[in-house]
Symmetry: C2
């Protein structure tokens, strides 16, 4: 599909873009481009031909249409907080940044929806909606900075997705600009839509099918009460079993997070969250809803925790203690960062009842590569975030890290899981798609890509590898075994 | 895309099918075919070349591959309970029936899932799962008969979808046979899947993208308590306002149904449900969950009902009363059927806060056509089911009914709604797709169809009309205005 820029006509394109976009929003100078060379996974970087900062849907249409006409690759992104290099620029392409489109267009308190430009930061939606007693549920760690358009592109998750769903479950309408500058409208305020579900298809498509120019999200009533429980365990296995048992008991906690001993000690040193340094694992659990409902759920969850050998179960006594516990969880990454020169966070998902086995396997893999792994993750979703700790100054460190990451992801697949929970595939996991899927599925993905982007201009070489690439990678991995 | 059967080679195909399928499962005689000429909307019917009754995925593959090779249309269906003629056979094609594949392959109490063949009847899943304290939430009215494969094809809904979601929200994995007999596997037990969301895409695709050969559904814990409230209103508008206010208050009832005076009196005469014959509208509300949670929600809902001028609010005193109230709701269609020679049930969705306006508009439209409309529907979802009552023996009755149906559906679109909530597009609403969508969206739908079914063999002339058809219909409707 790489028939872009056949006439090497990018200079014509730039000429036209200069006439249509104001000078300060079409960046072409080396030093202007530097900050845009990667997303939040800077190990993958590339300098684009130019960066276009869009301030309106019309400008997105203009840029897409011109790139389409000139067969020049177009990579779009929001705030650039992605963790899988899904928004790495293309060296012969335009990087279209929709972050400047950051207006909340409407809050509808009848339909409990908000109509948004793609650059609106995730957290800001809730900050405005709370005036009406509402919030936007998916809450990625980067929610202060990350934009709703990028959330759609990556189908972002967060701590509260166990109860409230990931992005696709919280978006009811989209406007999408196609490779040739057409505007498509999908969804609306109703529960079902006729025709093929392109609204869902766009979620997690990482800018490969079009550029999202407007999003209508579902808002949720702020729960009357949120109660936080913390449970200590003497082994990771016991904590993992408790996670599975809580959900089996019919409770859907608003959040159900797990931390291992390495994270507990690092975090405690970093911000004195009040964690028990003797615990091998801690579960942090939010229950929300009506106070009576929360009472009932808390009783049930505590019984399950005790049954599964929690060595201590505490309820947060006040908002201050609750906030401190959560601050610890949210500080886990910088806390680990203080302990080692470098770390690399992976994102895989496994069936909930396999968490225990998988964590043990990860520890064994890590030992083989002389590496340490810390674990802090969305346990209720089975969404692991192993943090590989390393020292990038050691000559072979990066290779060992990459090999361990591949082993972990492929083990997730082996137990019936997936190579991503919320970070996406992007550039980072391009290879692992060959293991996650067989040729038949990859072929259909490519056919869908071709249907919406017939010249392969939108975010090339991301998300879906070619059949040839898949076959090659599978051979390489076999050799490695 | 109609390049099927170019060599008129259906006799070759039949010859091969006869060698591969046992005689009693390949029907070709006129009297054998008769029961398969339509689904549950028999006004649209056609006799297929042959009916193939599949007993295994392998047989689905065989039939698809042979139809693909011979370029013969292939329409697939489950139990044939569809209400939009989505499973009407093609006169030059094979009708593949997956109803005989009715085995529950596994119930997984760890992951709370069930792996099913496509012919498993919807209700049977819950009947088996209840032994583990679990149930399958989507519950179409036809749930005794309709099959899970057909539920996926139509993205079926039901009374409990307000709280638990429609089919797509309750399916975690699929196996899909393509037009040329490849098997694709999507989803699994994890919350997110990498790549394009073909799992969602298949839902509601009405057999136009492939044939579902295995489905893994999510099971839900049976709630500890279900409480039913009934509220009477002196006007339809007041009941509609209350519906919207309940959801705005942050309560998500398990069911929130509305009936108008015509339905109330017909039902009361039919089965003595205990409804108030003086009410202009009744709301029937299920709240479920932990008893304490249900208490809290019931108090809140009752307060809202009173605020919105309910003339009476009752709680079901015991299971018997509860069952009687629901029996009335479920008998509404046969009850109306006793009053008139014929009726035709429509399925449209509108934003919840527009229900009142839309019901009034429907009444006005109906008067213009000298027809009566009764209303009983999933109010919480904004999913209307206007029942047009008529006498098919009157010479112009059917024309008037069709014109009224089109007016109602197109009014749903006008207020921001859709032409289907749960019955699908099929043959019935093929024309209205031209009003629901513009050329840009239709073009993308056709491109997706072409990606997965390049010769247009799967369920031709359903769901997505050609651009030419859309333009023609739009011109015709303009003339009508």
């Amino acid at each position: 599909m790489e028939n872009y820029d056949v006439n090497n006509n990018s200079s014509q394109l730039l000429h036209k873009l200069r006439q249509l976009l104001p000078r300060e929003r079409l960046l072409t100078e080396r030093e202007q481009l530097a900050p845009f060379e990667s997303d939040a996974l800077p190990v993958y970087c590339e300098r684009p031909l130019a960066v276009a900062l869009a301030e309106s849907e019309e400008e997105i249409v203009t840029v897409a249409r011109l790139c389409g006409e000139h067969r020049v690759p177009l990579v779009s992104r929001g705030a650039g907080t992605g963790l899988s290099a899904g928004a790495k620029p293309h060296g012969r392409g335009i990087l279209l940044v929709t972050a400047p489109m950051d207006r909340i267009l409407a809050i509808n308190t009848h339909s409990l929806t908000a109509r948004l430009q793609p650059g609106v930061p995730n957290l800001q939606i809730s900050q405005v909606a709370v005036r009406h007693g509402l919030f936007y549920a998916p809450d990625p760690s980067s929610q202060i900075a990350c934009s709703i358009g990028g959330n759609v592109a990556e189908n972002a998750g967060g701590v509260h997705c166990l109860k409230y769903g990931v992005t696709v479950h919280n978006v009811v309408g989209l406007r999408l600009v196609t490779w040739d500058g057409e505007i498509l409208t999908f969804g609306g305020e109703c529960l079902a839509q006729p025709g093929y579900d392109l609204l869902a298809l766009v979620h997690g498509s990482e800018g490969c099918l079009g550029i999202v120019s407007e999003i209508t999200v579902k808002l949720t009533r702020v729960p009357a009460e949120t109660r936080t429980l913390m449970a200590d365990f003497a082994s990771i296995g016991a904590a993992a079993d408790a996670v599975s048992a809580i959900v089996r008991a019919g409770v859907v906690p608003a959040a159900l997070e797990m931390m291992d001993a390495l994270v507990i000690s690092a975090t405690e040193a970093f911000c004195q969250a009040g964690y028990d340094l003797d615990a091998a694992a801690i579960l942090l659990i939010d229950l929300d809803g009506d106070p009576l409902e929360v009472d009932a759920e808390a009783a049930l969850v505590e019984a399950v925790l005790r049954k599964f050998q929690a060595t201590r179960v505490q309820r947060a006594q006040d908002e201050d203690q609750r906030q401190r516990w959560w601050k610890g969880r949210k500080s886990a990454f910088p806390a680990i960062g203080r302990l080692v020169p470098d770390y690399y966070c992976i994102d895989g998902t496994v069936p909930r009842h396999r968490i225990g086995d998988v964590l043990q396997a990860i520890a064994e893999f890590a030992e083989g590569y002389r590496l340490r792994v810390a674990n802090v993750f969305h346990a209720g979703d089975g969404n692991l975030h192993p943090i590989i700790m390393f020292d990038g100054r050691e000559p072979d460190a990066l290779e060992r890290v990459e090999a361990l990451a591949a082993d972990i992801l492929e083990y997730c697949i082996q137990v019936g899981g997936t190579i991503t929970g919320e970070h996406g595939v992007g550039t980072e996991k391009f290879n692992q798609m060959a293991i996650q899927f067989g040729d038949a599925e990859i072929e259909q993905f490519l056919a869908v890509k071709n249907a919406l982007d017939p010249h392969g201009l939108l975010n090339p070489d991301k998300l879906i590898p070619s059949l040839a690439h898949c076959r090659e990678y599978r051979v390489l991995r076999k050799k490695h075994d």
